[in-house]
């Protein structure tokens, strides 16, 4: 009977589930810019940011959290579940044998649910605290770029560590202090409902790389409410993946963990590279992957709005899916006026940054904002980007 309850689940099913979740997330991202018809009002930029946080949690956040917190907490929960199961079995033996399986199953899910609920509350509070703290700090685009680059390197280092590329990358894994791990372990021995609740709360002390990145974003919001909402959305996003995997890990143990870590490493590597690239874009670096490959991609993406002859009056369409045209040509040695035109623009492209000029402004969702650019010598290339370093473009002075 007990063999029936610990029947192994094919790892392929688990990976398929993971891939499915990633696919759903990508679909959400892909269809998000076309969500204008929903008629979201003035605060839609906020909603977009929360949606991005949720999707990040659903995809990479859940996996990354699992890499850092999963092993310890799943095994801790397994201990709790084991205790519950043994207790239930002993009781049920005295009763009818029919209800035994059902009772054990419900007990497996409950501690994980309590754990995730507690984690959600803890991170929401942390988000509020970070947002509140951030209101005292003005994170300039350069500071944010440096943070993004650092986070990108951290993620890439962790991915290479998971691939076991070189022993040096093991130092990218932050080992929590012994007294914390010892305390968590001792707490995990409890078998009451308070234990998973408390453990969930303690996860704020062992955040994963993606969570740390999201924490920095919460700090950057400069608002307790927004910081709380952001980490709530993110942690809520991580919950399904975490729940499924934590549930299955209790049944599969280390075998699944090792198998799944490779998948996590690939995702983490891609995310790390994207974050690093975003950071470099935000710094206005010509050496970001996006800026280095712009020449290869602009002709196709700029269709319909070709770059015209050099001018002192430039117009840039700020759309949900980026900036058009991506390359503008300006007259050298003369001041230039750049008109930024938005029309129902709700994506992060509204957060417009010109790193070279230290210019940063949140554009209205519909309207025109003019930027005065001082005279630049011929051959100068000024890059512009959104505040996340996702959408980019350049002005070339001739």
């Amino acid at each position: 009977m007990s063999k029936n309850q610990t029947k192994p689940i094919d790892p392929v099913i688990v990976v398929t589930l993971g891939v499915l979740l990633v696919a759903v997330a990508f679909a959400l991202i892909a269809f998000q810019p076309q969500s204008n018809s929903i008629g979201i009002a003035a605060n839609s930029g906020t909603l977009t940011q929360l949606m991005v946080a949720f999707v990040t949690g659903l995809t990479t956040g859940g996996l990354s959290c699992l890499a850092v917190q999963g092993g310890l907490l799943a095994s801790s929960l397994a201990h709790q579940i084991e205790q519950d199961y043994l207790g239930q079995s002993a009781q049920n033996k005295k009763r009818s044998k029919k209800g035994q399986t059902a009772v054990a199953r419900s007990n497996t899910a409950l501690p994980i649910f309590l754990f995730l609920l507690s984690k959600l509350i803890a991170y929401t509070l942390l988000g509020a605290l970070l947002g509140w703290f951030g209101s005292f700090l003005a994170l300039s685009p350069v500071t944010r770029a440096v943070l993004m680059i650092a986070i990108g390197i951290f993620m890439i280092g962790n991915a290479l560590r998971m691939f076991n590329v070189h022993p040096i990358f093991r130092y990218f894994s932050v080992e929590p202090p012994k007294f914390i791990t010892r305390y968590i372990r001792k707490t995990a021995k409890g078998t009451d409902a308070i234990t998973p609740l408390f453990l969930g709360f303690l996860t704020v002390f062992i955040p994963c790389g993606v969570t740390q990145a999201m924490m920095v974003t919460a700090l950057g919001t400069g608002s307790a409410l927004m910081g709380a909402a952001l980490l709530f959305a993110f942690t809520l996003g991580t919950s399904p993946v975490f729940f499924i995997i934590a549930y299955l890990t209790t049944e599969l143990g280390a075998r699944l963990e090792k198998f799944f870590m490779r998948f996590v490493a690939v995702v983490l590597l891609l995310l790390g590279l994207a974050t690093l690239d975003g950071g470099l874009n935000l710094m206005g670096s010509p050496y970001s992957f996006t800026n280095l490959t712009r020449g290869l991609t602009t002709s196709a993406s700029d269709s319909g709005t070709p770059a015209s002859a050099p001018s002192t009056d430039l117009t840039l369409m700020v759309r949900n899916d980026g900036y058009f045209p991506q390359i503008l040509t300006a007259v050298a040695n003369q001041p230039v006026v750049l008109a930024l035109v938005t029309n129902k623009t709700y994506s992060c492209s509204r957060d417009f940054v010109i790193p070279h000029l230290n210019f940063y402004q949140l554009l209205p969702d519909t309207g025109t904002v003019q930027v005065n650019i001082p005279a630049q010598p011929a051959g100068t290339k000024i890059f512009f980007t959104c505040s996340m370093g996702m959408y980019t473009g350049a002005i070339i002075f001739e």
């Binding site: 850092v68 310890l72 998971m162 022993p167 093991r170 130092y171 012994k178 010892r182 372990r185 870590m261």
Partner: protein, 70 residues
């Protein structure tokens, strides 16, 4: 009490170190375990009258890892 160091080559993250340290609670005769993912090793302080090296290796194996005495 003696202190013995074991190499654990198949640790994959710092959680593995935490898992190994949890042997403190289950292995009779263990006083303290300090595992490090960075160094891929585990230092066990134990009472040799109550516990043998082989028993430690077997307990580590049960956790899913290989322990090699240094």
């Amino acid at each position: 009490m003696i202190k013995k160091t074991f190499k654990i080559p198949d640790m994959t993250c710092s959680n593995c170190a935490m898992k190994l340290e949890s042997l403190e609670d289950t292995l009779e005769g263990v006083n303290e375990i300090n595992a490090s993912y960075h160094r891929l090793e585990m230092v066990v302080e134990y009472d040799e009258t109550q516990l043998t090296e082989e028993q430690i290796i077997a307990a580590v194996k049960k956790k899913g890892y290989q322990a090699i005495p240094v």
